[in-house]
């Protein structure tokens, strides 16, 4: 791995200690939650719909943010300057909209229909006895989720390798092992509580690091002046093409279709509390995003040319800056925040994939009309997690190219297929099963095709045309088939 020298850290025992203590805490939460999660499948996959507003707020936003936010956005702000803000504005506004207008309705309807997964909801909502909606949505979810989980594990392996000079395979094994232990034991409850802790860890790192670096540099105004002298367009928020602007804003269209975000809304104990969750989640989203952007900007002021960064890689700015500006204990926190971003996404996606296998395929397709004991379903869920982890691990090690090819359009594919279908199912009474089916298929296909055709990809991010065409298809086909509903 060319990144091995990146943040070749001279560790002191404090950094290592804070790191180990953090992981022991995560595993302890998994053990603590095991008894509650073993009660039944709703407890295991949805926390028994008893999650509190603070946990739901933070776990919903953090599971949607992978290392892309802290490494990718800070790197983007380093290269393109202030105009990188548009990459975060879209999803923050969409997730605010989801919390305020969508989450409560989804929570209430899924409880009334006794649905614990998104395919569950689509099937019961349209009384689809053929099972076609469930099969198609499970297929889409499983492919993208397993690829997603494998990519997170691979990212964890690389981060361990770069931080601790640990062999890549060991890094993957360690990331996987920690996630596996607390997810398999504690299910949704543990994952949500741990996501909340990860969210707090991430926000601390993303507030402390830019604050310290900017103060050491001489202040905010001095940073802006330095950037202005370096390249004035770094300070221009509109220094981007119309296609890039729309593409950045459109990233947010992925949120309504990513099931690992949606299930968080379904898990809250009292839907009336979602308005408070909206404020908490939005504050977190905003502080995290602008923290990453400030890191990029101060990084550029401190290291004006990319060659000054390790490996000349802008995505290494975050740990590099932390290594040079923070106390070893706080540097440990920064490193932990990278793993927090990776793990908080991987655990949520893993749980969604396992619920698709056990709830959707086993319980509702294979053993349809058979009453199964809850304990057995929980046991199978744990086995499913183990099997999915092994599959993701094998894919991460042996088929890395395939994984990253799939992940390239996982966010967009899920967003464009499930997003319009779910929004219209919730808000438009004329939506039919065939309309939803058409939307699922169209959304996925357009994302893949648009991404693969170079000419189209250069115009705008594939999620945007795919989302709106998928939405149009749901409407058109629903109107054509309304009598068969």
């Amino acid at each position: 791995m060319e990144n091995s020298q990146l943040f070749d850290v001279s560790f002191n025992s404090g950094t290592l200690f804070s790191f180990i203590a953090y992981y022991l805490l995560l595993i302890s939460i998994g053990i603590y939650s095991a008894r509650f999660s073993s009660t039944g499948i709703t407890e295991f996959f949805l926390g028994g719909r008893q999650m509190k507003r603070f946990v739901v707020a933070l776990s919903a936003v953090v599971s949607g943010r992978s290392a892309w936010l802290i490494l990718g956005v800070s790197g983007m702000a380093y290269s393109r300057g202030v105009s990188a803000i548009w990459a975060v504005v879209g999803y923050i506004l969409v997730e605010l909209f989801l919390f305020i207008f969508v989450a409560g309705r989804l929570r209430t309807e899924t409880e009334q229909l006794q649905s614990i997964t998104i395919p569950d909801y689509l099937e019961t909502r349209f009384n689809d006895r053929s099972g076609i909606l469930r099969i198609v949505s499970v297929f889409i979810i499983l492919i993208f989720m397993v690829a997603y989980v494998a990519a997170q594990f691979s990212g964890g392996g690389k981060a361990f390798h770069a931080s601790f000079d640990m062999p890549y395979a060991w890094g993957i094994a360690l990331t996987t092992g920690i996630v596996l232990v607390y997810t398999i034991l504690g299910g949704f409850f543990a994952v949500s509580v741990i996501d909340m802790i990860q969210a707090i860890c991430m926000i601390l790192a993303l507030v402390i690091l830019p604050a310290v670096a900017i103060i050491e540099f001489g202040g905010f105004n001095l940073m802006l002046s330095a950037l202005n002298q370096l390249r004035p367009d770094l300070l221009d928020p509109m220094a981007l093409t119309a296609g890039a602007f729309i593409g950045f804003i459109g990233i947010g269209l992925g949120s309504p279709g990513n099931p690992h975000i949606l299930v968080r809304y379904m898990s809250i104990d009292d839907p009336a509390q979602l308005r408070i969750s909206a404020v908490i989640g939005t504050i977190w989203n905003v502080v995290m995003a602008w923290g990453a952007i400030y890191i990029g900007l101060i990084g550029r002021a401190l290291y004006p040319t990319q060659q000054l960064l390790p490996g000349a890689d802008t995505e290494q700015l975050y740990p590099f800056l932390a290594q040079n500006h923070l106390h070893p204990l706080l540097f440990g926190l920064v490193l932990a925040s990278i793993f927090a971003a990776i793990m908080s996404t991987a655990d949520s996606q893993l749980l969604v994939a396992a619920s698709a296998v056990v709830r959707d395929i086993y319980q509702n397709l294979i053993k349809k009309n058979v009453e199964l004991p809850q304990q057995r379903l929980v046991f199978f869920s744990r086995i499913a997690i183990l099997v999915l982890v092994v599959v993701a691990l094998l894919l991460a090690i042996t088929a890395e190219k395939l994984i990253f090819w799939l992940v390239l359009f996982a966010w967009g594919g899920l967003g464009a297929s499930l997003g319009p279908a779910i929004l219209l199912t919730l808000f438009w009474k004329k939506t039919t099963k065939w309309g939803v089916l058409a939307g699922l298929v169209t959304g996925t296909l357009i994302v893949v095709i648009w991404n693969q055709v170079a000419g189209l990809k250069n115009i705008v991010y594939e999620l945007i045309p795919a989302f709106f065409v998928s939405m149009l298809m749901v409407v058109i086909v629903s109107l054509c088939t309304r009598n068969s509903n």
């Binding site: 803000i85 504005v89 605010l96 305020i100 928020p237 979602l274």
Partner: protein, 33 residues
């Protein structure tokens, strides 16, 4: 300094406005059922 107004809005104004919007929506939207 004129050129610095717009980055100030992007770096300070927009995040504050989004948080303010969240608070306004939370207060004035109907309770979700």
């Amino acid at each position: 300094m004129v050129g610095l107004i717009s980055p100030w809005i992007a770096l300070m104004g927009i995040p504050v406005c989004i948080i303010f919007l969240a608070i306004i929506l939370a207060i004035f939207t109907k309770k979700q059922r």
